[in-house]
């Protein structure tokens, strides 16, 4: 990826996102700060999907007519782009799923069921999204294995000492951690985690749903064994997840979903499975959206992931500076900008986050409130819920000002 210079031209970027001009019911213009949940899509992505359906919609892989060839080429081109984007060794290491959740479940079902047994351990952390907890609970329950949690300290960092202690057991079969917390914004030192793990021969899954969209991620440098993320959190369409698996591991994994496309030969009582990565893609894929995802990757590459990251650091710093000036605010997560992404979680007085989100909505500001699919972390923080503003390439400081204004209004209403 070429290194781009200078700050983003956010004004120009915003032109590519027509939804940002949307007027909401109260007449206010949308201020979209819910990017950790899903991002908006640039015209190039919307148009790529449109173009597919208008001009070359067809099922893929199995036909020789021209539409099928065009669709197959475009579909497989996305796989190449994804491989290059995260620097995978080969397209065989890239499996398309429905979302990051399905990617993790695929590993739990396929790899997990053949590699985890009674009394074995799976190590995850207290910051995990439910998608990186529940599949392992299900697996552990089925196999009689155990789940262990790396703790989080009061500043929102993983307790790395604790991690070392967990690894001392020779029963650990897998470590599965988020690269970035979707609540605290903490960027987890995955390279260190992986190094320590690999020293003991334990593979690591990285839930990169919040990192790949926001910073440069290089799977070879990181050396993770599995990685999962979702297209819809990085300008892409809904319905596309990506699972990266090191080829030598993927080769040995039994199939997950049986069906069309994942087979080479089907006989009545036995089947020869297809080559990688198709073996793991049963049935008609989400063709249109995978193709649309190409345009999203191109868009991010054109900007340059380092500049995406710089822009988010700038916004986050500004947001934290301003929000700490608001009376009654409790802020969660690290204060050091280099250790965190563009996610700001907080509470204010006794205002419940849902009430705050309703008030924000009156001002056009879309933030998320609730447990953010991270109830284990909520228990750890001893809160029922938090409010969360999260940023992306099209957000501005002016939007953060609007957000702060709405926060002050909430204080007034609740007399805090």
């Amino acid at each position: 990826m070429m290194q781009k210079q200078g700050a983003l031209d956010v004004g120009k970027i915003r032109e590519d996102f027509p939804i940002l001009k949307r007027k909401l019911d109260g007449g206010k213009t949308l201020v979209y700060l819910d990017n950790a949940a899903t991002t908006q899509k640039p015209l190039s992505v919307i148009n790529a999907i449109h173009d597919y359906y208008m001009n070359y919609n067809s099922n893929i892989h199995r036909a020789v007519h021209q539409l099928a060839e065009e669709a197959t080429l475009a579909f497989e081109k996305t796989r190449e782009k994804v491989a290059k984007f995260i620097n995978a060794r080969s397209v065989e290491e890239i499996v398309f799923t429905r979302n990051a959740t399905e990617a993790i479940n695929l590993v739990a079902y396929s790899w997990g069921r053949s590699n985890v047994g009674r009394d074995d351990k799976i190590v995850i952390s207290e910051i995990e999204h439910h998608s990186n907890i529940v599949p392992w609970q299900i697996l552990a329950g089925e196999k009689g294995a155990k789940l262990e949690y790396i703790g989080v300290d009061d500043d929102g960092y993983l307790k790395m000492k604790e991690y070392g202690t967990h690894l001392d057991s020779n029963k650990v079969k897998l470590v599965s951690v988020s690269h970035m917390s979707n609540v605290l914004g903490t960027i987890i030192p995955v390279e260190e985690i992986i190094r320590m793990s690999h020293e003991r021969g334990i593979p690591v899954l990285v839930d990169a749903a919040q990192s790949v969209p926001h910073m440069q991620v290089d799977v070879q440098k990181m050396d993770c064994d599995f990685m999962a993320f979702s297209a819809h959190k990085m300008l892409g369409p809904t319905g596309v997840g990506i699972l990266y698996v090191k080829k030598e591991i993927l080769e040995k994994m039994p199939p997950f979903m049986g069906g069309g496309d994942m087979i080479k030969e089907v006989h009545k009582y036995e089947t020869r499975y297809n080559d990688l990565p198709y073996r793991f893609e049963g049935g008609t894929p989400n063709i249109a959206d995978v193709i649309g995802f190409s345009a999203a990757i191109e868009y991010l590459e054109d900007i340059g992931m380092d500049r995406v990251r710089d822009h988010e650091i700038e916004l986050t710093k500004y947001a934290i500076d301003r929000i700490t000036g608001v009376k009654g605010v409790t802020l969660y997560g690290p204060r050091n900008m280099t250790d965190r992404g563009g996610v700001v979680s907080f509470n204010i007085g006794d205002i419940h986050p849902h009430d705050l989100a309703t008030i924000m909505n009156d001002h056009g500001v879309a933030i998320r409130s609730g447990h953010h699919c991270a109830q284990v972390l909520m228990e750890r923080l001893d809160v029922a819920a938090t409010s969360r503003a999260s940023f992306y390439i099209y957000n501005t400081k002016e939007e953060i000002d609007t957000f702060i204004g709405a926060l002050e209004e909430a204080r007034r209403l609740f007399k805090i």
Binding site: G26, H352, P353, H354, D355, G370, A384, L413, F414, K415
Partner: protein, 142 residues
């Protein structure tokens, strides 16, 4: 808009909930949560004959869900338990003065009613299964 929602009375019930707490000798206790936002409500009922003799709730969640629960306990205390069956969405929304909530927040306002109806069904299920069945169909769609 928010000014109409977060009125004095809502904030008062939110911060000073009526009938909040445990009810050690409850005849029926029931819990439910709103999966979309995590609001939680427990309802505890003491029933005398067929009258709600005492009612307490526990819960955590937004001002709307908690104020709504608080107001609901006031509304039904001393009433016949079966009268819970006849309480509609609109009764609740009018009672708390929030008739223009969006679909997400409406769930907050109605959670306590849902729990109360489940409690009523459970009370009869333990005592009079047939009528419980009839009552059950009624609490759908909250």
């Amino acid at each position: 808009m928010s000014d109409d929602i977060y009125r004095e009375i809502i904030l008062d019930h939110y911060r000073n909930p009526r009938n909040k707490g445990k009810l050690p000798d409850a005849d029926v206790s029931i819990h439910d949560s709103n999966p979309l936002c995590g609001d939680e409500i427990d309802m505890h009922l003491k029933v005398d004959g067929s009258t709600i003799k005492d009612i307490k709730f526990e819960g955590r969640g937004c001002a709307i869900s908690q104020a709504s629960a608080s107001m609901l306990t006031e509304m039904v205390l001393g009433k016949p338990l079966t009268s819970v069956k006849d309480l509609s969405k609109n009764d609740i929304l009018e009672n708390i003065g929030l008739t223009s909530l969006g679909p997400a927040r409406i769930k907050c306002a109605l959670l306590s009613l849902k729990v109360l109806k489940l409690g009523m069904v459970k009370y009869y299920a333990d005592r009079d299964p047939d009528s419980a069945k009839k009552l059950q169909d009624d609490s759908k769609g909250l």
